[in-house]
């Protein structure tokens, strides 16, 4: 009975939707991609400059 009342209250007040959004946000957060840079773009570009290499163009 208490659960039914709680559900009714949540739906009437819109909190059911908010709760679902909070749940989804936490599920999304834990499924975000892991990313780690092996080398730094700063080091890469600094080194490339020393090689005086011209870029290529691919058609």
């Amino acid at each position: 009975m208490e659960n039914v009342l709680k559900n009714i209250f949540d739906k009437v007040s819109g909190r059911e939707e908010e709760r679902k959004i909070d749940l989804l946000a936490s599920i999304v957060d834990r499924n975000k991609i892991k990313n780690a840079g092996v080398s730094s773009i700063d080091d890469v570009v600094e080194f490339a400059k020393t090689q005086k290499m011209k870029y290529d163009i691919y058609f």
Binding site: N35, V38, A48, K49, Q51, D56, Y58
Partner: protein, 206 residues
């Protein structure tokens, strides 16, 4: 990314490459008037767009491990550059019945090639202690995979896809594009190290 790094990428790759592509366009297409937005004021605007694109990517897609500094890998840096180049549109023109494919694909071509230039620099850095490989990489283009008969060559296909996606989808998929760059890089590493693809199979989880 340090300011000096961004400056080097803009001044060393984006600007000269866009000028080269523009010159080529003028030779091929004598009808369409194409303006090139690679001036110092464009650099400032482009940089802001790059920073906001990168920050949004990190905020929405990256796992927040608060213990570590969250930098993005170079494939994603290159993909962000491609994304911003597609959005910013260095080449601007009016469409008419004479608009050539050269002009139509120009922004996609620039985006694709700038991102590849960054990947090539990453490969160069990987072999920074190998003089012979450095010499080879510096003087050769990246290898591209063959495509199936009847398909466009790989680079043309990628360029067309970029342009078509920008028209039909309106949104650049940075993650998928960075995966493509990772594959191009791995393809080249396998060739440079003369290794078989089977040596790069992921360990089984079971």
């Amino acid at each position: 990314m340090l300011d000096i790094t961004f400056d080097e990428l803009w001044d060393g790759i984006v600007v000269p490459m866009s000028n080269d592509l523009h010159n080529r366009m003028m030779e091929v297409d004598k009808y369409t008037d194409v303006s090139v937005c690679n001036l110092p004021q464009d650099k400032v605007n482009f940089k802001k767009l790059y920073e906001s694109t990168k920050d949004t990517l990190k905020q929405l897609y990256h796992y927040n491990n608060s213990e570590k500094i969250r930098k993005i890998d170079i494939h994603k840096v290159a993909a962000c550059f491609a994304s911003v180049l597609m959005e910013y549109k260095v080449f601007r023109y009016e469409i008419n019945e004479h608009t050539s494919d050269e002009v139509f694909l120009s922004n996609a071509r620039l985006a694709y090639n700038v991102s590849l230039a960054i990947i090539k620099e990453n490969i160069l850095y990987k072999y920074k202690d190998d003089k012979d490989l450095l010499q080879f990489i510096s003087t050769h283009k990246l290898y591209m995979p063959k495509t199936t008969e009847g398909h466009d060559r790989f680079s043309l296909g990628r360029t067309k896809t970029l342009m078509l996606n920008s028209i039909f989808l309106g949104k650049f998929d940075i993650l998928s594009y960075s995966d493509m760059l990772y594959w191009i890089e791995l393809f080249n590493i396998m060739i440079l190290e003369n290794k078989k693809a089977s040596e790069y199979i992921e360990d089984s989880e079971e």
